[in-house]
Symmetry: C2
Subunit: 417 residues, 2 copies
């Protein structure tokens, strides 16, 4: 079974909002064995909506729309699509009663405004998809040939809830035959680029036979995603496992996890298994490394905290970096990073300290230390390792790459200890 | 002049990747007075690419594609689109020479692999769009009726660079007549929800006449966006300015900036103008507030650093929170937050201290202090203000909302000082 998705809204079409609904819908449908063959976005104009939905319906016979149903929207989607099906709009008393109850719970002075009555208008013969996460209900409209359009709201939280509660069960019930499952497995790598990975993989660079390989570089490293289609869930998983093992045999040292594994979680697990605690000492990242570690639920058993040492006097007074070190080597140096790491270990009484100092830019670079120069030091059980890296990207990327690189250095220090 | 955008890739269609290219393209084109009337996404299959591009070309006559040109892609886009135009593919020596030079700079053993030769294949009669940001060049293909397709790579950095360097100048030169400019102005609010804003605005809730208003809630607050079309740039700006003034007259106290203004930058400017420095004391946010402040270039003149006090013993030893306070009121209390704020001011020798302590979840909640309970305190020039807030959302949202709320408290404390 195949569907098309039409996302509606000037905000999307004009690029003010990134369309996260489309990606969520696609993942949920693919996991249920329902294929998406096309996705379209059109603006908030009745003729645009009607054209995009009609073309999709003519191609595929099954269409999901998002947007244009909410309280502050102009509510264009329902009448535009009703017209495709040759249906009139009618006022639905039950929806209106529910809206009134909802507004009563808001304790709104004067109750629900009359202008909200458009929210209670639905096409004749429509089935209502309940919205437990907001006020605008969804709509299911179908013709006598079994062609259908499902209309969901555009607010991501409401759309996701309604998809799970109301639409997926309905679409699954329609799907006949063996579902075509699209399954994937991702290996997360760090410390090596896309081209170098492809070269190392050689004959496997485009994936093992029948398992196309995608390269997804980001500030967190390069993800490698294997995808398979046209298998049942069990067979797909087996194929993916075997394919991943082939890749790992070649590039295993760069792989830190699978799927959505966070490198910070890998580091926390390594610390936990060794009974070690960690503290951070951050200059150019200004708290980003601490934020990465504490973003993981349950991190409090191994993360005690740290010092954001943005100013040099804080590096001296709160971390014990010597003024001679700052004077002779500069704040951005492996020497300073090493003293920051050692200092935070000593002052916070922990086994592991991670320190970052660098030039995030856009200003502050010199010929010897250009923007992107970052020094990282890890003190683990008394042994200090440090490195100087040249990061690419803008200020934000340099900072995020620096935090990720520091996590990887902790991982490597602990893995070899 | 109108164009359509077709983004190509299984990764996009299956929802593994959120399509940020489409939003970027739309914004850049709209700002240049070129309208996007439809956006489509299709998978990495020649028939899907050919169908989506041909339909778009038949509707609009001007199509921009992204994706399917890179070194590890299967390079399906060029031949599929060449076929629509009835053109054969040919090997381009100049592209191949450039690729060889690029690979030489990589110092790759053995030089460029033969498999990269598909990157040098282009449709007959194509114009090459240079790629200064990566290896795969873009393609401009046009028929004798003036209908054209421009193919850009899918890697966002490369796509953005090529759009600015090569494509926009070319498309602008084509656009005839007065460009229809879509212009917008955003007011950023915090401390009030979408419905309450609409209610306060009353007759302005859907925007002043001719200026539709969009409500965009996020963890940073609720943005209000006014949009206007069909005016020249000057007139559009004047209309938007007047509309924004009407809104500000009603909801001004909640507005902290316009367009993409970062609340952290507003706070830094307030500190700078008062000659004050700030330090942070963070528990549940674990460095996020420090990261927000230091994300702004030039923050080092007012941000000295701070303490990530994730463990209670760090709150005591590094910030001077009294053990009685922790015992009697708990780590998540306004009392603890106030001592953290006062402590960081004293120990870091700054005028302003911002402290956050809370329960980010998913565990750790109690009936009295459920997940999302966050206490924030600001010490400014010796006066301490504090608040206890119930944040909604998951761990990540609670932490991000907490950092934003702390910034807003600093803003309010400084604005009234």
């Amino acid at each position: 079974m195949n569907v098309e998705v039409v996302t509606i809204g000037d905000e999307l079409l004009l690029g003010f909002t990134v369309d996260t609904n489309a990606a969520h819908l696609a993942r949920e449908l693919a996991a249920a064995g329902i294929g998406i063959v096309r996705r379209s976005t059109c603006g908030d104009a009745p003729d645009q909506i009607a054209a995009a939905v009609k073309e999709a319906l003519d191609r595929t016979g099954a269409v999901i729309t998002t947007g244009g149903l909410g309280p502050t929207s102009d509510d264009l989607t329902k009448p535009s699509i009703a017209a495709i099906f040759g249906r009139a709009m009618k006022f639905d008393d039950a929806i209106w009663e529910e809206l009134k109850i909802r507004w009563k719970s808001y304790k709104w002075p004067g109750g629900i405004p009359e202008s909200n009555k458009t929210q209670a208008m639905i096409p004749e013969g429509a089935v209502i998809l309940k919205n437990r996460h907001g006020s605008a209900p969804g709509i299911w409209l179908e013709d006598d040939r079994g062609r259908w359009v499902a209309m969901l709201p555009g607010v991501p939280r409401e759309m996701r809830g309604m998809l799970a509660d109301e639409l997926l069960p309905r679409v699954r019930a329609r799907a006949t035959g063996t579902p075509v499952v699209v399954a994937s497995l991702t290996l997360r790598t760090i410390g090596i680029g896309e081209s170098a990975l492809a070269d190392l993989l050689g004959p496997l660079a485009k994936g093992p036979p029948g398992l196309p390989l995608a390269y997804l570089p980001s500030v967190e490293g390069t993800d490698l995603r294997l995808t398979t289609r046209n298998s049942s869930s069990d067979v797909a998983l087996e194929k993916l496992r075997a394919g991943a093992a082939q890749l790992r045999a070649v590039i295993g040292e760069f792989v830190y996890g699978e799927e959505k594994t966070d490198l910070a979680a890998v580091v926390l697990d390594l610390l936990r298994s060794r009974g070690m605690k960690i503290a951070v000492a951050e200059s150019c990242t200004g708290g980003l490394l601490g934020a990465r570690l504490t973003a993981i639920a349950g991190s409090s058993d191994v993360v005690v905290g740290g010092v954001i040492a943005y100013a040099n006097e804080v590096k001296e007074s709160k971390l014990g970096v010597r003024s001679e070190t700052l004077r002779d080597f500069g704040a951005v140096s492996e020497e300073t990073a090493r003293e920051m790491a050692a200092g935070v270990c000593e002052r916070f009484g922990v086994a592991v300290g991670a320190a970052i100092t660098g030039i995030a830019g856009p200003g502050g670079g010199t010929p010897e230390k250009p923007v992107g120069t970052v020094c990282i030091a890890i003190s683990a059980a008394g042994a200090i390792k440090s490195t100087k890296v040249q990061m690419i990207g803008d200020r934000d990327e340099i900072r995020r790459r620096s935090a990720q690189a520091a996590l990887n250095l902790v991982r490597r220090a602990l893995a070899s200890s």
